[in-house]
């Protein structure tokens, strides 16, 4: 008995010792100890950093309008942190806040994760995708030609899906207005094909006429870095900013010359007068004589001074900067409804100085090959909505907003809201309940960047055609889906041929089409040097693989062609608007960069910045509440004195939540040239609340 007991004790001791040694060798108990230790040191509600190894994936950011190359650090396959990808030359490794914060933005509070349908009581409630798709297909099937689909301004294969669907339904496809579309229209008026891009990488001087090249322009992340690198300290490159506010674009320039918003065309044509007078005109356009006659009679220094207040020496200096290897960019802040005439006059000035389609000047960038059967959208959405609101056009029976928010992005907010209220069925894709989504009957949750595949094309302002591919790195949150996939499924239910080509197939087809375009993959090559004449690398055999690896396709190309200076059209430029005693303020509205979580200002009333002299003339003091009044609407604001704003102007940088209220106080007006409407220098008044 005793022997058995001893044997048992020996065996038990051996087993215990073995278990102890085995446990010590296994990582599990040590990991458990570490976890315990962490919990001891940190309160349980604090997040813990990932314990697994870190890896990285190279891709392209679809978070902003730019498309920077990014390197996403992942832990256990999940994105954790975004850094710049040094192998992608676009942006020269500079990143914008929205690129950096996109991993956090995936878990943004208020993000939609399921489809929502408005019930009989008027509340939005969750609904299954199958029911949402049935409803969407049924309404589209009923309305057919009376459907209006609104897509973002940025071109993409996803937008092509919407365009194809519209073409097959006979529906109207409208894109949100953008400065890129305005600039392309202005170039077309001169007989040029493509969208203007500005080659700051090779430029030796810069003149900005209202254009926000270092702030809100889509290509600004690259333009900022390019200019800051090129000018350096102590070099002779000069930059001049003419505009109503000392903002981000003025910050990078050597001089700020106050210029009233809406006067850019007059200033550009005044600059042309100096080019001519200094003998710096180098142009052979067919209407040169007519153009010179125009500027010599109507845009003399005295006339331009009386119209804009600009001293002649400022424009003379700007003319020299332009002629000595510079580039001129005219426009306004992105999304501010720039006038065709301003951009046309700016292009004409570049052309007159011989800076058109030259390295370091303005380059006309051709679009990427379009998918067959996808007609271009109409670009007068504002006119359509105004006509619907005013009863001049029948309201569409169904509306689909594809990641577009007209109430936050368009002026005439009161009319836009009225137009939306007249549409029978409204659906939208959105990642959160935007102002326009809140009015819809069906809200479909859209996947966000890092969750979806997206082609990111040439941002407006860049001087070379390019394409990057944003890859999905994780499964979309909840029931979120890519709008293109949903539209294709809706097309399938309607029996339309569009459904035959998946979104992925369209992306691959674009990649294949680009292989024959003569471009190259920017690997170890700076494409702007190729633009300036350096050797062009050989095209890649498998472009799709390169795009998936986060590399950039570039097609720098300069095509010379016959063009005019648009003299006949510019003759109609009437100059700055006359002063309006009822609405004495000119508004400059530039939406603030989005924050993942609002810092408490989102719900507060927006600040309006104006200088002390302007405030005094309106009997306003710093910090008081006031009412901003336009022709059709008004908004509550708080006055903030800022001497960086020129006389007679008010600058607003509202958060996204504050935009619809501000848009209600903004009025559009017909453009000087063409049928589109502009709202770049809309007038308002400010009264004490």
């Amino acid at each position: 008995m005793a022997s058995k007991r001893r044997t048992f004790l020996k065996c038990a001791a051996a087993l215990a010792a073995g278990a102890a040694v085995g446990s010590a060798a296994s990582p599990a108990p040590w990991d458990a100890l570490r976890q315990l230790e962490r919990r001891e040191h940190s309160p349980p509600d604090l997040p813990h950093p990932p314990a697994g190894p870190l890896e990285h994936v190279d891709t392209v950011s679809a978070a902003g309008a730019f498309g920077t190359g990014i390197r996403v650090l992942t832990s256990n396959g999940k994105p954790m942190l975004v850094r710049a990808n040094p192998e992608n030359p676009l942006g020269r490794c500079g990143l914008a806040p929205e690129d950096l914060e996109q991993v956090r933005a995936l878990a943004r509070p208020g993000r939609l994760s399921v489809p929502l349908l408005r019930n009989a009581e008027g509340r939005l409630e969750p609904v299954a995708w199958s029911k949402a798709l049935d409803l969407l297909a049924a309404r589209f099937g009923e309305a057919r030609g009376e459907v209006l689909i609104v897509t973002p301004a940025r071109k993409s294969c996803g937008r092509d899906v919407a365009a194809a669907l519209c073409a097959e339904l006979g529906a109207v496809h409208a894109a949100m207005p953008s400065e890129a579309a305005t600039a392309a229209r202005a170039a077309a008026l001169m007989g040029l094909a493509g969208t203007p891009g500005y080659d700051l990488d090779n430029a030796r001087g810069l003149v900005l006429l209202g254009a926000d090249a270092f702030g809100s322009m889509p290509a600004s992340p690259h333009l900022r870095r390019a200019w800051a690198t090129a000018r350096g300290r102590g070099t002779k490159s000069r930059a001049m900013y003419f505009g109503p506010e000392r903002g981000a674009s003025a910050a990078l320039c050597d001089t700020w010359i106050p210029l009233a918003a809406g006067s850019e065309a007059t200033a550009a044509l005044g600059l042309c007068w100096h080019l001519d007078a200094l003998g710096l005109a180098r142009c052979e356009a067919s209407d040169l004589a007519e153009f010179l006659q125009l500027i010599r009679t109507r845009f003399t220094p005295e006339l331009v001074r009386s119209a804009t207040g600009l001293p002649p020496e400022a424009l003379e200096n700007a003319a020299r900067v332009l002629a000595e290897g510079g580039v001129l960019i005219a426009g306004s802040a992105s999304g501010s409804g720039a006038d065709d005439a301003a951009i046309l006059a700016g292009l004409a000035a570049n052309a007159l100085a011989g800076r058109l389609n030259r390295p370091g000047g303005v380059i006309l960038v051709e679009g990427l090959p379009a998918t067959p059967g996808t007609p271009a959208p109409v670009d007068d959405l504002l006119s359509i909505l105004r006509a619907v609101a005013q009863g001049e056009r029948p309201a569409p029976k169904a509306l689909l907003l594809v990641e577009a928010d007209p109430l936050a992005e368009l002026p005439d907010g009161v009319l836009t809201a009225r137009a939306l209220s007249r549409i029978g069925f409204k659906a939208c894709f959105a990642d959160r309940l935007t102002a326009s989504a809140a009015l819809c009957d069906l809200v479909l949750p859209a996947a966000m960047p890092l969750e979806r595949q997206e082609d990111v094309r040439t941002p407006y302002g860049l001087a070379l055609a390019c394409l990057g591919l944003a890859r999905p790195l994780l499964r979309p949150l909840g029931d979120c889906r890519h709008p293109a996939d949903v539209l294709l499924e809706a097309a399938s239910r309607l029996g339309l041929p569009t459904a035959g080509h998946t979104h992925q197939a369209r992306l691959r087809a674009l990649s294949l089409a680009l292989e024959g375009e003569g471009g190259f993959v920017a690997r170890g090559v700076e494409p702007w040097k190729v633009l300036a004449g350096e050797g062009r690398p050989a095209p890649e055999a498998d472009l799709w693989r390169e795009l998936q690896a986060g590399r950039l396709w570039c097609g720098p190309r300069i095509r010379q062609g016959v063009h005019t200076l648009g003299a006949a059209l510019l003759a109609g430029v009437a100059g700055p608007a006359a002063s309006d005693l009822e609405r004495p303020l000119t508004l400059v509205v530039r939406p603030a960069p989005e924050q993942v979580i609002q810092d408490g200002l989102g719900g507060a009333i927006p600040s309006v910045r104006l200088n002390a002299a302007t405030a005094k003339s309106l009997r306003l003091r710093d910090g008081v509440r006031a009412t901003l009044k336009g022709h059709s609407g008004s908004a509550a604001v708080r006055v903030a004195l800022d001497e960086s704003v020129m006389d007679g102007h008010a600058v607003l940088t509202p958060a996204r939540e504050q935009l619809p209220a501000i848009r209600a106080a903004m009025d559009s007006r017909p453009a000087e040239i063409g049928a589109a409407r502009r709202w770049d220098a809309c007038r308002a008044t400010l009264e004490p609340a």
Partner: protein, 211 residues
């Protein structure tokens, strides 16, 4: 060759105030979104004159990592000290008792005291990095010059997240041991005697004169 001394030179004339430095710092160093605890901030300074004679500039303001830091001698627990890693002024949060003596001593106002626990919305904790501890309520935190990068990869190519992300390259980070203040270069509050290792460059005389 002498050991490097880490510091920054910020070109104020190239700063557009875009906020990329703040965003890059926040995501790298686990600053809770919307908490206002940013380790680098943007200060807008103006010359105080009326339009059209007005002028304004943005000054990115990280911890100055002073050579003679006023915050170090006042810390009762040794939670903050001048480290041997190129003079970086460290902050060891587990040793911090939250007395806030360093906050009072710092002439630059770049130290932050956690009044409350950081809030991470559901799902956003997936973006927490292993590079910096998540600081609890009751401790002081500040910029570390992204010292985790130096520890992980060594001095070769060492730079901070803010300098790396700056879209205009306004922030230059590196060894400042051989740098002397030039005509356009200045430091903030030199009269405090802290000898900051973050210097600024600007052609604006009014900005340099405001030291």
């Amino acid at each position: 060759m002498s050991a490097p001394v880490w510091g920054m030179v910020i070109d104020v004339d190239a700063c557009t105030g875009c906020g990329a430095c703040m965003a890059a710092c926040g995501v790298e160093n686990n600053i809770a979104p919307g908490s206002g605890m940013d380790w680098i901030t943007l200060e807008r300074r103006s010359n105080g004159r009326a339009f059209p004679d007005s002028d304004a500039a943005f000054l990115p303001r990280p911890c100055m990592h002073c050579a003679n830091p006023p915050c170090v001698p006042v810390c009762p627990t040794g939670a903050t000290r001048v480290s041997s890693l190129g003079g970086i002024v460290s902050q060891t949060t587990p040793q911090c008792i939250g007395c806030r003596s360093c906050v009072k001593a710092c002439p630059y106002g770049v130290r932050r005291f956690n009044e409350r626990e950081p809030v991470w919305p559901k799902g956003m904790d997936a973006a927490v990095t292993p590079f910096a501890a998540v600081r609890p309520k009751g401790v002081v935190e500040k910029c570390t010059f992204c010292v985790h990068r130096l520890i992980a990869r060594g001095p070769e190519g060492y730079t901070t997240a803010c300098a790396e992300a700056c879209p205009t390259g306004a922030i230059t980070f590196g060894d400042v041991s051989g740098i002397s203040l030039g005509e356009d270069m200045f430091v903030i509050l030199p009269q405090k005697g802290a000898k900051p290792r973050v210097a600024y460059v600007s052609w604006r005389s009014w900005l340099r004169g405001e030291k």
